[in-house]
């Protein structure tokens, strides 16, 4: 075992790091721009030089790089403090769906501007009545000649307010069992009848939206897959979700916990010398290290041109609750001062409090802890699904709460 690149990988890393050193924007004028503009500027610069979406085929704006080269690129790019990305959902989840299901004409029209960041996409899946049970969604589309008329409501839509296009799964036939009556379209987010309302999260921030559709008209040519095949198309998008979400546990790690415990005292001694504190820190490190080296095992598989095993599926299920538990415990150590969120006054500039307030969202987004555990139990361990009371029943006859 070794952690080194093969000569070929090392050459690629060198090429990537050289280009980044020469092109990564660090100037103050750039930093002064609004975040979305920064992101678009950087994405376009990468695109023009062939460093955007490098795993995609050249005709779509990529360079046909291997999976391990994509990882190397991300590793090198993450060494720079670059603008937050606004393109993860579009490039990570929607692009693979377009590649698999869209017409050649649509691929040629939409993929290059998606790679260059000139057009941003969002994903319109969840609904008030359909979250973990996504296929229970109720937004309907009715056929009218060569077009469809969409009515209903989507929710938790990240980035809807700055997106140009969205992909949407809707019910086109309520008289058949729920998975069979769905169809999948792309929509123009600026079309008449699309209304976007930000959701204020418990953190006070607004990353998500409610999106209302009132008589929104889309052409039949905007359909991906057959009528009634929407569930299969959705699965393509969802399969790529894990790649797009996850990570994001930021600076909340065992080393930060150690540094907090070093600065505090319990009965006149550093809290870091307290055995209960040490046990907690050790357990968090075990989880971090376990995820890190699970990642290394997956990279090894990628590096050999194999598919990573199912062990990758534990990331969010371990990381999100760990972040919450760690933040909670570190605030306990801080005592009443743990409540202070003011960046100027709080320990570690308030990141612990922000982590605690943000953690519930991470435990829910992209599959709740409970759904992730079901996925592991069913797809990895081979346990049977729970019996479903709506199985085989026409959607419009399924009891609703």
């Amino acid at each position: 075992m070794d952690f080194n690149d093969t000569p070929e990988q090392a050459r690629f890393r060198e090429e990537a790091s050289t280009w980044l050193a020469e092109n990564a924007p660090t100037d103050d004028a750039f930093r002064a721009l609004p975040p979305l503009e920064q992101a678009k500027l950087w994405q376009k610069r990468k695109y023009d030089a062939g460093w955007a979406c490098i795993g995609w085929a050249p005709e779509f704006g990529g360079r046909g790089a291997s999976a391990i080269e994509e990882v190397i690129w991300r590793q090198e790019e993450s060494k720079y403090e670059l603008p937050a990305t606004f393109f993860l959902i579009g490039q990570g989840m929607i692009a693979p769906t377009l590649m698999a299901w869209a017409s050649d004409e649509d691929k040629a029209r939409f993929l290059p501007p998606l790679a260059s960041g000139e057009e941003v996409w969002c994903q319109l899946f969840s609904e008030p009545a359909g979250g973990s049970d996504l296929a229970a969604l109720r937004t309907r589309a009715e056929r009218d000649g060569d077009s469809w008329v969409i009515n209903g409501q989507k929710i938790w839509t990240s980035g809807a307010h700055f997106s140009d296009y969205g992909v949407i799964v809707v019910r086109t036939d309520p008289t058949v069992p729920k998975h069979k009556g769905l169809s999948y379209f792309y929509v123009d987010m600026k079309a008449p009848g699309v209304e976007i309302k930000p959701i204020k999260q418990l953190t006070g921030e607004s990353d998500f939206n409610e999106v209302y559709f009132t008589d929104v008209r889309v052409a039949d040519s905007q359909r991906l897959g057959e009528v009634g095949q929407g569930w299969q198309v959705s699965l393509t998008t969802l399969m790529n979700e894990r790649a797009a979400i996850g990570g994001g546990f930021g600076q909340m790690d065992a080393v930060l916990a150690m540094s907090v415990a070093q600065e505090l005292e319990i009965d006149g001694r550093p809290a870091l010398e307290d055995s209960a504190v040490r046990a907690k820190i050790a357990n968090w490190y075990v989880q971090e290290s376990g995820l890190k080296y699970t990642g290394y095992r997956s990279l090894t598989a990628l590096s050999r041109g194999e598919l990573p095993g199912p062990e990758n599926s534990i990331g969010k299920l371990v990381g999100a609750p760990k972040m919450q538990a760690m933040a909670s415990y570190l605030m306990d150590l801080l005592g009443a001062s743990g409540a202070i969120a003011d960046e100027a006054l709080a320990a570690k500039a308030g990141i612990i409090q922000r982590a605690y307030m943000g953690a519930p969202g991470l435990r829910i987004a992209g599959g709740t802890d409970e759904i992730m555990a079901n996925i592991i139990a069913e797809r990895v361990l081979g346990l049977p699904q729970e019996p479903r009371l709506d199985k085989g029943i026409p959607f419009n006859e399924v009891p609703t709460g």
Binding site: D2, S275, A279, Y285, V286, S289, L291, L383
Partner: protein, 371 residues
């Protein structure tokens, strides 16, 4: 990035798993647990014939001179089969101690016999309940004479030689004590896992020679335990995997209220938790064996991380495997208790969870200060 065992090593794993499923079925574990023996002597002979006891011993001393990667693979399979063998005592601890600290003469005398499996060795550290304090050992060496009491000592009754941790006026020492001599008393001690024999040892002016003819720095002994911790972690991982497999199989075949209990989320989530802990333990065990095999400075952190993860995974999987089985899991007849006993037994040897959590944080602090 190549963070995976080689094809040859994977082949060894398959071979070892096949061999142990044939020669160490759970009925073999049950026979030792039920009977009066401390081990399965016939199985030990077969394992030695396969060369497993010789794995990392250098060829100059009759060993195979392979790496810790191979030994880790064998350790996992030992755990998977809950083998009633002194593999951990003799291979991860005693052979390692002789190899690291012994004089040329001591190595030449003992390593070939340990490699060939005709001798079994163990290490005697514990004297009383609580954490092992290397600076407070009461077993004393003066001249060539050893006096003291060690309990419990795993596999002592079947050992030909014991490495006894003792102190002299000069400091900490590892004393070589052949058991076939007057002045060594070995009394059986009942533990909760009788598939691995344990004893109390009393030394009363026992003839001994000091390993390496020198005192040991505490750090030297701790490095030995770091290496052993990695190998224990692999063995515990094997136990954890067996417990998960057994729980999964039962959850598929046992029906309640008209359906397999594995279709209930309460059971699914329990088993998913086992899988998560086992996966973390496996990845940390990879890190541990990498640090051990490559002689990395990160060994103290990697070993403690692997050990804590393996303790947590194996005890959780063994406990929840019984819970998944319900009442049948609590019977002597079902095999669930083998893993329950072995997971806990291995977790208590060479320092329990809190000891290694403590060492993990110390190592992490040191490593982050150095970075």
């Amino acid at each position: 990035m190549n963070f995976e065992f080689s094809d040859e090593q994977q082949l060894l794993r398959e071979q070892a798993r096949g061999f142990l499923s044939e020669h160490c079925p759970t009925s073999a574990v049950r026979a030792v647990l039920d009977g009066d023996h401390d081990w399965d002597a016939a199985l030990w002979k077969k394992v030695a014939d396969m060369g497993w006891t010789a794995t990392v011993i250098p060829e100059a001393y009759g060993g195979l001179g392979l790496s810790y990667y191979e030994l880790a693979i064998l350790a996992e399979e030992m755990g998977r089969s809950a083998a009633p063998l002194p593999f951990s005592s003799s291979v991860y601890l005693a052979s390692e101690a002789i190899q690291r600290f012994g004089t040329e003469a001591q190595k030449s005398e003992w390593l070939p016999k340990l490699a060939g499996g005709e001798c079994v060795a163990t290490v005697a550290m514990t004297e009383r309940p609580g954490r092992l304090a290397l600076d407070q050992l009461e077993t004393r060496r003066e001249g060539s004479s050893l006096t003291g009491h060690k309990v419990p000592v795993a596999d002592a009754a079947i050992a030909d030689v014991v490495i006894v941790l003792a102190r002299s006026d000069a400091g900490l020492e590892a004393c070589l004590v052949p058991t076939a001599q007057a002045g060594v008393s070995i009394e059986p001690v009942l533990t909760f896992d009788t598939s691995r024999g344990h004893s109390a040892m009393t030394f009363d002016g026992t003839e001994t020679r000091v390993l390496g003819d020198r005192t040991l720095q505490v750090e030297e002994w701790l490095r030995l335990l770091d290496g052993a911790a990695v190998l224990y972690a692999w063995e515990q991982l094997g136990v954890a995997e067996s417990a998960l497999t057994q729980a999964r199989d039962y959850a598929l075949q046992r029906f309640a209220f008209g359906r397999a209990i594995g279709s209930y989320q309460a059971i699914k989530h329990k088993l998913a938790s086992m899988y998560v802990k086992n996966t973390l333990a496996r990845s940390n065990a990879y890190y541990g064996v990498w640090a051990l095999a490559e002689g990395s400075d990160e060994l103290p952190l990697a070993a403690a991380t692997a050990r804590v993860a393996a303790i947590q995974a194996s005890t959780f999987a063994a406990e929840e495997n019984i819970q998944t089985h319900g009442g049948m899991g609590f019977t002597w007849e079902f095999d669930c208790h083998f893993y329950y006993r072995r997971a806990k037994l291995l977790s208590l040897a060479i320092g329990s969870e809190a000891v290694w959590q403590d060492r993990l944080v110390s190592a992490l602090a040191e490593q982050s200060a150095a970075a």
